[in-house]
């Protein structure tokens, strides 16, 4: 069974992970191998089978609309990688 060619660069872009050329090649091979095994699923007759939505048949788990205590701002911002006053700070966002 041939290894399927994944466009690793494109997928890494979607996943926001910078990869070296070496990683692109290495992961490409390893994931291709995995996919070759995964493609065995095509052997199963899943036409009339529903996809598992939930392992346990649970429905309508919701909560009441009442306030619960949250986190103190200082606790939250204390571990922010970068903060400015009361805000989280990030490098400029390039509009896409």
């Amino acid at each position: 069974m041939s290894s399927e060619k994944i466009d690793v660069r494109y997928v890494a872009e979607l996943a926001r992970i910078a990869l070296t050329d070496e990683e692109v090649d290495r992961f490409g091979e390893q994931l291709g191998d995995l996919l070759a095994h995964v493609n065995a699923l095509a052997e199963l007759d899943t036409n009339a089978v529903p996809a598992t939505a939930q392992v346990i048949e649970s429905r309508n788990v919701t909560r009441e609309d009442s306030v619960r205590p949250g986190l103190e701002r200082e606790v939250v911002l204390a571990q922010a990688p970068s903060r400015q006053g009361a805000f989280f700070r990030v490098p400029r966002i390039i509009a896409e």
Binding site: R59, S66, V67, R68, G70, F88, V90
Partner: protein, 488 residues
Amino acid sequence: MSAREKYVPVIGIECHVELKTATKMFCGCPNEFGGEPNTKVCPVCLGMPGALPVPNAAAIEHMIAAGLAFGADIPAFSKFDRKNYFYPDMPKDYQISQYDMPLTQGGEVRYWLDDGTIKSCRLTRIHLEEDTGKSTHAGSGDGRIAGSAYSLIDFNRAGVPLMECVSEPEIHSAQDAVAYLEALRRTLLALGVSDVKMEEGSLRCDANVSVRLADAKELGTKTEIKNMNSFRSVGRAIESEIERQIALLESGGRVVQETRGWDEANGVSVSMRSKEEAHDYRYFPDPDLVPLEISREDVERIRGTLGELPWQRYERYTAEYGIGPKPATQLLDNLSLARYFDRIVAISANPQQSANFVLGDLSRLANENGIAIADSKVSPEHLAELIALVEAKTINSKIAKELLARMWEGAGSPKALVEGEGLAQTSDPAAIEGFVDDVLAANPGVVADYRAGKTNVGGFLVGQVMKASRGKADPALVNALLARKLQG
């Protein structure tokens, strides 16, 4: 034919409405406008490791109510899906939304124009999702992303329940678009499911605009217009875009599919993106949440809470009561006022007069005194009495005005006042004739002027008769008698 007339604008409106609940969609943080940044947060809405979402039951009820109000179907099953993309104001870098099994399906918004034309626009979908945090961009001088040096994020808004409402592209003018929005807004306000304030961000909208030749079957290329901050803005922006596209096409150009940001200050839209980058959102059912099963009992129970919807009220006022579009709209824009009005009509059976009083003198008094009509000392029952007195010509409009002012101060039943103080107007022709004769005799110069052709001085003479009768003369009779005598 003008260039404009050759084309049909095709507009679709996409709204995001923040639902009015006490807490956020998936956690117990308060859902309120304003407040210090990053103070209404918890592990869940900050997307911290290990945190899990649990849906807000009230938000689901609000959605179902809104769906029913727009005539949508409420399916038996619904679920949440993850919409995956990276953005700094997205705490989990995915948004919990609904993809293929939203809480409502179909529906339409009935709206009306100033001239009373009733239209409707179908809805493509209404679904429930969570709002993102808010980012402010620094260093660019105008607060925009382009040219900014860095951005600051506040997550207070992250996780607020959001209703996304997408219309079919069935709107064909900027004016219609605004009317659609107003109808949408009125309905949601009447249901109490949102504050729907554009200035607070509880209603946000984008427009998709294209134009096609009147006889063309295919739609033109559409652009998305964003950043409109008021209804007026929406109208201006859409109009501007229609004109821009037509001018472009007329001069041989092509409309590029893009997103344009509206600049209200300068009255123009600016291209935000030069190419459409298709996002692969990789939607899949959120494994942290279980499906929603909505029983028919629940649907009917919620349907029972809807009450009369604004468009139904509008049609009742205009079609049944014969009230004009503008006054009808004015009445139903304020639910407590509309209810007050309904109570008067129930007793007086005179919607026209009821509307006149409510929107005229009563509204004036209310504005002057800063008190809502429904909170005033004028009860609907007493106002109905006043109307009856005017209808029966027991009092004239001048006396009615005076009485109303006194009722506003708490004087109570106008009937009692009229009887007690003898305020009934004089309709006795003999008595009025007496007044008229006296006034004519006392003002020979004016009479001469009138007979010489200066008919505008007739008003002065009417005024004198009213004065002589201490305001109680029936104005209609006064006019008739004066006219007869002046003709001589």
